[in-house]
């Protein structure tokens, strides 16, 4: 618990905004907060940790509660449809180093960016196609996440 308080204090000082979705009983998901250091080299190291800390990690514009981009919003909506509400979402608009850093880290030129278990999945287009072709249900299952659409998927087969 003390570690969480220290991490949160560092997060608030650094100014990077992290969305911590609430669980149904009101507790904030105990995922870690954002990066702690400011240099470009450190951001790459921090990103390496950030993408592994949570099963589902999204780098987006805005927050899940208030997306600032239609493509980022599409990612949020897709995750919501699948009942995934425990994920780390990092708002790149709050932090230009993070915004460029994640593009370098992923070698991917655009935002949003989605990671599953530390592995880069893709952006909005890929997540949408995975949702449409049923792959997303399967990938979430591999993460130990039961998609809300899983039963619908089974019934259609």
């Amino acid at each position: 618990m003390n570690n969480l308080i220290r991490a949160t204090a560092r997060c608030l000082r650094s100014g990077a905004a992290v969305y911590l979705p609430r669980q149904t009983d009101g507790r904030v998901w105990s995922a870690a907060s954002a990066r702690f250091l400011c240099s470009a080299v450190d951001i790459q190291k921090d990103l390496g940790e950030m993408v592994k800390k949570d099963k589902v990690v999204v780098f987006m514009k805005g927050t899940p509660a208030q997306p600032m981009c239609g493509f980022s919003n599409a990612v949020v909506q897709i995750l919501r449809m699948h009942g995934v509400d425990e994920y780390a979402a990092y708002n790149v608009l709050e932090d230009q180093d993070l915004r460029q850093g994640v593009k370098d880290f992923s070698n991917w030129p655009t935002i949003p960016q989605v990671y599953f278990n530390g592995e880069f999945v893709g952006g909005c287009d890929i997540l949408l196609q995975m949702h449409q072709n049923g792959d997303l249900v399967e990938e979430l299952q591999k993460l130990g996440i039961s998609s809300a659409l899983q039963n619908a998927e089974k019934e259609s087969k």
């Binding site: 997306p67 600032m68 919003n73 599409a74 449809m81 030129p109 893709g122 287009d125 949408l128």
Partner: protein, 150 residues
Amino acid sequence: MLPSVLRCARPISTSLALSRPLAHFRPHMDPDPSRPVERAIRTKLTDQLKPDHLEVHNESHMHAVPPGSESHFRVLVVSSQFEGLPLIKRHRLVNEALKEELSTCVHALAIQAKTPEQWGSNSTIAKSPPCMGGSKGDHTVEEKLKAGRE
């Protein structure tokens, strides 16, 4: 601090059915000489991916950028080079072909990368979600618009 932004707050449909056939669409649009970025995208994708079918749509008018901008694009590439490749590798091929544009003037690139077989069984282009105004007041986008004009 970001200035206040326009919100196009139309929610996307819950079924996320973002595909529709473009009945009015001409599959091979003539390149517009006054649109250098669109022309460059078309040329590079043609040269590097040898597509059977290629569509390049400037969607900048759908976003919070000035009229005439070339900052937001949607591409549909049908190429046998995508066969056997997962989506992410296909998209990376497209990104690589357009590396220069993406690092200078193109802010958003929506990609559909299909094999000829996939295109044959579903020849529709997806529709982009409604803009939520994030480009307005975004310094990074302003720099890219400036780069596009130069």
